[in-house]
């Protein structure tokens, strides 16, 4: 019933536009950015950076940012789908965390319900140990995990999130049971860092940015990063693959459009995001935030999202988080 009513309403709107002689399709002149997380977090910062870059480069100056936090985006996504259907000026921020959260929560609404527009950024994960830890290299840590996987405790973000996913992928690559990983979940980077600085856990996993300052100050030791190539700030820290663990993971963030928009409207949004991402202001935003620009748009991005859903579902199943 609801979907039919939507069709009727959209049909009416179209005919109203036609009657008024307005062009039915035109590049959006304002954007509504929907952030399925609380202000202050990574997705919110992505939204603010998009707004700042577009304003600065004079692409779009009219913005409305809306937050609907909860459960790694699982609360916001259904709201976005139902309230923004067919709206060509609405975009939602999302990323790897949302993929994991939707799978772990058996969410009835998946990312297939929205229209993928572009991947914008990625952030490598970093594996660290306390400064006084006996583990000097990734190989030391791997050897300890192989000896008794339950003895090596990892502090990181919430279960099923990016950090936990990486721990599971590492265990699997080493031929260990991902469910046996002693993963200690903390709500956010601060408490996890405190556990590491206090030498309460063997190792920690988080985004590079989260641990960067502690590593630079010598309070934590970086053993490896999860990206395909080394991270600019830590040139002497090997990638997991270089250290002999065949795993690659990037905490990517991107934008999605509402369901039910036309192909032309989708193309307009892709063009808009590409224009921003190739402009000088966005490059500046990437620099200050320490993000890698990983622009990928349109069909390629759609395929990427589909592949990530399959891959993450498999990891979460291995971890016993997907029923």
């Amino acid at each position: 019933m609801i979907s039919r009513r939507h069709v009727i309403r959209n049909g009416l709107l179209c005919s109203v536009f036609a009657a008024a002689g307005l062009p039915a399709f035109a590049a959006p002149t304002s954007l509504q950015i929907f952030v399925p997380a609380a202000p202050g977090g990574g997705w919110d910062q992505t939204a603010r950076s998009i707004e700042a870059a577009m304003r600065k480069d004079n692409i779009i100056t009219n913005f409305r940012v809306e937050h609907r936090p909860g459960a790694g985006g699982a609360v916001g996504l259904p709201v976005f789908v139902s309230t923004k259907k067919g709206n060509p000026e609405a975009i939602m921020i999302g990323g790897l965390v949302m993929v994991g959260s939707l799978v772990a929560n058996n969410s009835p609404v998946g990312l297939s319900a929205v229209t993928p527009i572009a991947r914008l950024t990625g952030e490598a994960e970093i594996i660290v140990v306390p400064a006084q830890s006996p583990f000097k290299t990734m190989q030391d840590l791997v050897a300890a995990m192989k000896a008794d996987v339950g003895k090596v405790s990892f502090a990181g973000g919430s279960a099923g999130g990016t950090d936990h996913i990486l721990a599971g992928m590492m265990a699997k690559a080493l031929g260990l049971d991902p469910r046996k990983v002693a993963y200690v979940a903390y709500a956010g980077g601060g408490p996890a860092q405190a556990a590491l600085l206090g030498n309460q856990v063997s190792a920690g996993i988080s985004g590079v940015g989260e641990f960067a300052e502690q590593v630079k100050a010598g309070k934590l030791r970086a053993l490896a990063v999860s990206s395909s190539s080394r991270v600019a700030d830590f040139k002497d820290v090997p990638t997991l693959k270089e250290a002999g663990v065949n795993v690659e993971l990037s905490n990517w963030r991107g934008v999605f459009a509402a369901p039910g928009i036309t192909d032309a409207q989708r193309k307009d949004l892709v063009d808009l995001i590409e224009k921003m991402a190739n402009g000088p202001a966005w490059k500046g935003e990437l620099g200050t935030k320490g993000w890698d620009g990983l622009l990928m748009t349109g069909d390629a991005f759609k395929k990427y999202v589909d592949d990530e859903v399959v891959r993450i579902t498999a990891v979460l199943t291995d971890l016993g988080l997907k029923k």
Partner: protein, 498 residues
């Protein structure tokens, strides 16, 4: 001496007219949002983040710190006057504070809260200035095992609010623990008791439960059992200020609350609520006026917890400024504000940005003075609210609680929860169940559970971890003594008397 020189520089920067103005704006906004249930300092600072594009770093952080301190002051006002806590750290304040207000002593309660907040805020800031290093080293010694033992100790405090029947009190505690478990479990990522309602996935906000149980429940009770006919207006007894006796009874709780709140606030998983519980329990044990607790309202029960929550606010800034660790939502957002200035908050913050950090600390001293000056004259104004006839006053409380709750998330589910809790609060009052244990269970239950499971993951299921670590064992022994102490004392005294 180095510290003093830095601090002097900090004052020089913080005392410029423009920064004083930002500080004043901060504490005023902070007081206002503290008064409103729902809107907290974290959300407010997040909404003000775009300011960082326009204002220089020092001014922005002076503003943010003012908001943070101000919210702690403001939260107590509505707790005392309307039984509607504005912040979760001021829930305990409403226990005695509102009873004092209803026995005509609102002025004294508000004054001891404001002056206690000032004393504790200043002690906390002094601690932040001179003792940040050792405090943070001590706080990092707390691992999951120690936190679990601290929570066990905190559960003892429930004995202070059990009321006449232990069975009813413990039932209320169990209800609270259950409410605290709703939502996604952090350690497994699985939803618990959410029944497919996505709004419940992130758990229930403790403030909604507190406002529902206390304020809405109270209103319903009054509507059902209130007197008909002409209303008697509450009389403000004596002077609206604190009497000499009030001062004598307040100063020790202020100090005890400060020394509980500061170190626990500095602990990465300590928080502001735990020290208020501990302080309340302690004051009830030490008070010479036990009969006033839970009846006409004891001033110690306001002075201690209020000092504890303000000292913990300073404590939270210790790991943030000393190590760059965001251990609360507010600190996390302040740290992300640092980043938008291109400042990387970390262990070297104090070395790389001394001017910023020290002017921030100096502004805390100034903010505290401003808050005292702002709040004390308001006491006279606030107590007039209680002269509003009861039906109108309670109608106002209902509107206020509803708007505040809706403001948290603009979610209808939250409003339904508020009123469900209100009905539950009414029924609990009707059948003589205490409501405070629900809140204690809801805050401590999930903390204790998570820390227990973390400790078990690290020790590979070995329970002795709680007894083999000295700090953890010490806390458990204190908890055991706190429970058994009164009984042991009786056993020892009885033979002597007989």
């Amino acid at each position: 001496m180095d510290t003093l020189a830095h601090l002097a520089n900090g004052f020089a920067l913080a005392l410029t007219p423009i920064n004083l103005l930002w500080c004043l704006v901060g504490v005023t906004v902070g007081t206002a949002i503290g008064v409103l249930p729902g809107l907290g300092p974290a959300l407010t600072i997040a909404l003000l983040l775009p300011l960082t594009y326009k204002v220089d770093a020092t001014s922005a952080f002076i503003l943010f710190a003012g908001i943070y301190y101000g919210a702690m002051y403001g939260g107590s006002t509505t707790s005392i006057l309307l039984n509607t806590p504005g912040e979760s750290a001021t829930i305990v304040t409403s226990l005695e504070g509102n009873r004092m207000a209803r026995s005509g002593r609102a002025g004294a309660a508000l004054s001891t809260a404001a002056i206690g907040s000032f004393v504790a805020g200043t002690i906390g800031t002094i601690g932040l200035t001179f003792a940040a290093e050792p405090v943070v080293r001590f706080a990092l010694k707390f691992g999951p095992a120690e936190y679990f033992s601290l929570m066990v100790l905190s559960f003892v405090t429930v004995s202070a609010v059990l009321g006449s029947s232990a069975l009813r009190g413990l039932t209320a505690l169990a209800v609270g623990i259950f409410l605290g478990m709703i939502g996604i479990d952090l350690q497994t990522g699985q939803p618990r008791f959410a029944f497919g309602v996505t709004e419940l996935l992130d758990g229930i906000n403790v403030l909604i439960v507190a406002v529902g149980l206390f304020a809405v429940g109270e209103t319903l009770y009054l509507a059902a059992h209130g007197k008909r006919g002409p209303q008697e207006v509450l009389v403000v007894k004596d002077s609206i200020w604190m009497s000499a006796a009030d001062w004598a009874r307040s100063w020790k709780p202020w100090l005890r609350g400060s020394f509980l709140g500061f170190p626990i606030g500095a602990m990465p998983a300590g928080g502001a609520e735990v020290p208020t519980f501990l302080s309340y329990w302690m004051e009830k044990r030490f008070s010479k006026h036990k009969e006033e607790f839970g009846t006409v309202g004891a001033i110690e029960g306001v002075a201690g917890p209020e000092a504890a929550n303000n000292a913990s606010a300073a404590g939270v800034l210790v790991p943030m400024l000393a190590l760059g660790l965001p251990t609360s939502a507010t600190a996390a957002i302040m740290l992300s504000a640092f980043q938008s200035y291109g400042i990387n908050p970390g262990p070297q913050l104090l070395d790389t940005q001394p001017a910023l950090v020290w002017s921030l600390i100096a502004s805390l001293y100034i903010g505290n003075v401003m808050l005292l000056v702002l709040n004390l004259p308001l006491v006279g104004l606030w107590v007039k609210i209680l002269k509003v006839p009861e039906p109108l006053l309670y109608a106002g409380i209902l509107v206020f609680a509803t708007i505040g709750t809706y403001g948290i998330s603009r979610s209808v589910v939250d409003l339904l929860l508020l009123y469900t809790m209100g009905v539950m609060g009414y029924l609990m009052r009707r059948f003589d169940f205490p409501t405070a244990p629900v809140i204690i269970g809801m805050i401590l239950g999930p903390l204790a559970e998570q820390e227990f499971r973390r400790a078990m993951t690290i020790s590979q299921g070995d329970l002795t971890i709680f007894f083999t670590r000295p700090l953890s064992l010490t806390l458990l022994v204190i908890a055991a003594l706190a429970v058994a102490g009164p009984y042991l004392a009786k056993l020892v005294r009885k033979p002597a008397a007989g």
